[in-house]
Amino acid sequence: MRIDCPCCGPRGVAEFSYGGDGTLRRPDLATREAEPFSAYVYDRENPRGPHVELWHHIAGCRHWLRVTRNTLTHEILGVEMAGRFAGDAARIEGQGA
């Protein structure tokens, strides 16, 4: 399996560390109750088919990526920057550097 890192280009899966379900949203910082965190920490949809997930390019650029991947076929349907540099990446790529 190879993941086409928006920063580094296509790299082998061994360079990435799996970060699990990418649709989860951490409850607000100020949340004091346990339940929203329990749902965030423990509950997974675990779909058989397309799955949005996080991957950390730990042996490359160390960006976190949001990857859409079919869990049944391992086909990678899309890769984007997960985080705070997503806007920068899109802008810079858009400039066609």
């Binding site: 699990g20 920490v41 423990y42």
Partner: protein, 419 residues
């Protein structure tokens, strides 16, 4: 049930083996049963067997989507052990071990349970301390365990790299002599045959497509072969747990499905007696009675239903096996396969009533399910029959995560890929 024995084999040999009956009937599903077990794998079949044997519940059916035993019961590395550290675990697995020790006779089917020992190698003093804690925990629960030094290990396992040039030299190990391996497919077939003999219907090629409900309560299933009603529906479908429970409207569980690869070498004459694990990584290896070295390592560490893994894990496992047993280098890898593991958030299983009335869940085995097969079925049968868990499976609830009562043998936290 036709009795299996040396004598019956001899008699049939004279008649050209023409009189053997099918190991289990190819049952047609009836419209209603006292209980339905979804999943014709090891755990589902053993549950059916113990429901019939221990609780007299024989009007039951096991529904299997594909061919019987097509899941992890036939895809594992066949290791049976009860060398756990946490008491909730070691009590449960030791009960399983006791059932294993009588299983072939109980089922009248030789599951080839072979107690040649499981040796865990330690590579640092700290790791050996951990093993000591685990071994002492076992001994206090009446389980066999021995702490070994390098010279004892060298005598036990010829060919280990015990040299100073090993990157992580072996400093000791923990041995469970009663542990070992069993013939995995035979376990499924043996349970199927014995359950069938007690009247259990086993229906293959019958996929559950939905659940029948009366209000909150589950009262049966719809299948590719029609509706089947029962007041109790037990689900034991390993990696497919999320899909099956989603049919019941339970959309989220503390489970992720991951692929675990296993490997077997070409067969050779006896070269490795027991099971050995590599403590400087994650590797377990044994030699089957047929002669192949059977081994495995880590899961691929991503959600998967593909029953197929990728090259980096293959390469890493091979690095580990040759680091531990350098002679393996010249043997050849013959087969590789993948199984889908229902990885739970703490590495421990769930055997509990719920999450809906009328529904019972047996899941979250990660990659420790094979050795649990007898106790899992035994406890799940108890739970389904009595509507409450047996003390042995009482800790393995679904709500333990929310309560903070995780049973985390590895201490890895709520990260399924780490267990």
């Amino acid at each position: 049930m036709q009795k299996y024995s040396a004598l019956s084999l001899l008699k049939n040999a004279f008649s050209g083996h023409r009189h053997w009956q099918p190991a289990w009937r190819k049952a047609e599903p009836k419209p209603a049963y006292d209980a339905i077990i979804v999943g014709g794998g090891g755990h589902g079949l053993s549950t059916a067997y113990y429901l019939a044997k221990e609780h007299g519940l024989t009007n039951i059916v096991v529904l299997e989507k594909g061919w019987l035993g097509s899941g992890n019961i036939g895809r594992n590395t066949t290791i049976v052990r009860s060398n756990y550290m946490l008491p909730d675990n070691n009590r449960f697995y030791e009960w399983s071990m006791k059932l294993w020790e009588g299983l072939s006779l109980d089922l009248n089917y030789n599951v080839m349970f072979s107690q040649r020992g499981v040796l865990n190698l330690a590579h640092t003093p700290a790791q050996l301390d951990d093993y000591a804690r685990r071994g002492n925990s076992m001994r206090l629960e009446g389980i066999d365990a021995e702490l070994l030094g390098p010279s004892e290990i060298a005598a036990l396992v010829p060919g280990l790299d015990l040299s100073g040039s090993a990157r992580f030299p072996v400093v000791g190990g923990l041995l469970q002599p009663r542990a070992g391996t069993a013939r995995h497919d035979a376990v499924a077939w043996g349970y199927a045959r014995a359950a069938d003999a007690r009247g259990v219907d086993i229906v293959e090629n019958c996929e559950v497509t939905g659940f029948l409900r009366e209000g909150e309560r589950i009262v049966g299933v719809t299948t590719t072969r029609g509706e089947i009603r029962a007041p109790k529906v037990g689900v034991a479908v390993a990696g497919s747990t999320s899909q099956v429970l989603a049919l019941a409207g339970v959309s989220r569980l503390p489970i992720e499905s991951h692929v675990l690869q296993a490997f077997v070498s070409e067969p050779v004459k006896p070269i490795l007696d027991g099971v050995v694990t590599f403590g400087a990584g994650h590797l377990y290896i044994s030699q089957s009675d047929k002669g192949g070295l059977v081994f495995g390592g880590d899961i691929d560490k991503y959600n998967s239903y593909a029953q197929r893994g990728n090259l980096p894990v293959v390469e890493h496992v091979m690095s580990e096996v040759t680091a531990m047993l350098p002679f393996v280098s010249r043997l050849r890898l013959l087969r590789n396969w993948g199984g889908i593991m229902d990885m739970s958030m703490d590495g421990s299983p769930i055997i509990a009533p719920g999450p809906l009335p009328g529904l019972y869940l047996n899941a979250g085995w990660c990659y420790g399910g094979f050795k649990a097969t007898p106790a899992s079925g035994w406890c799940f049968a108890w739970t389904m029959a009595k509507d409450e868990p047996h003390p042995l499976n009482a800790p393995f609830t679904l709500d333990r995560f929310r309560n903070g009562a995780s049973i985390d043998e590895r201490g890895a936290g709520p990260y399924p890929k780490m267990h």
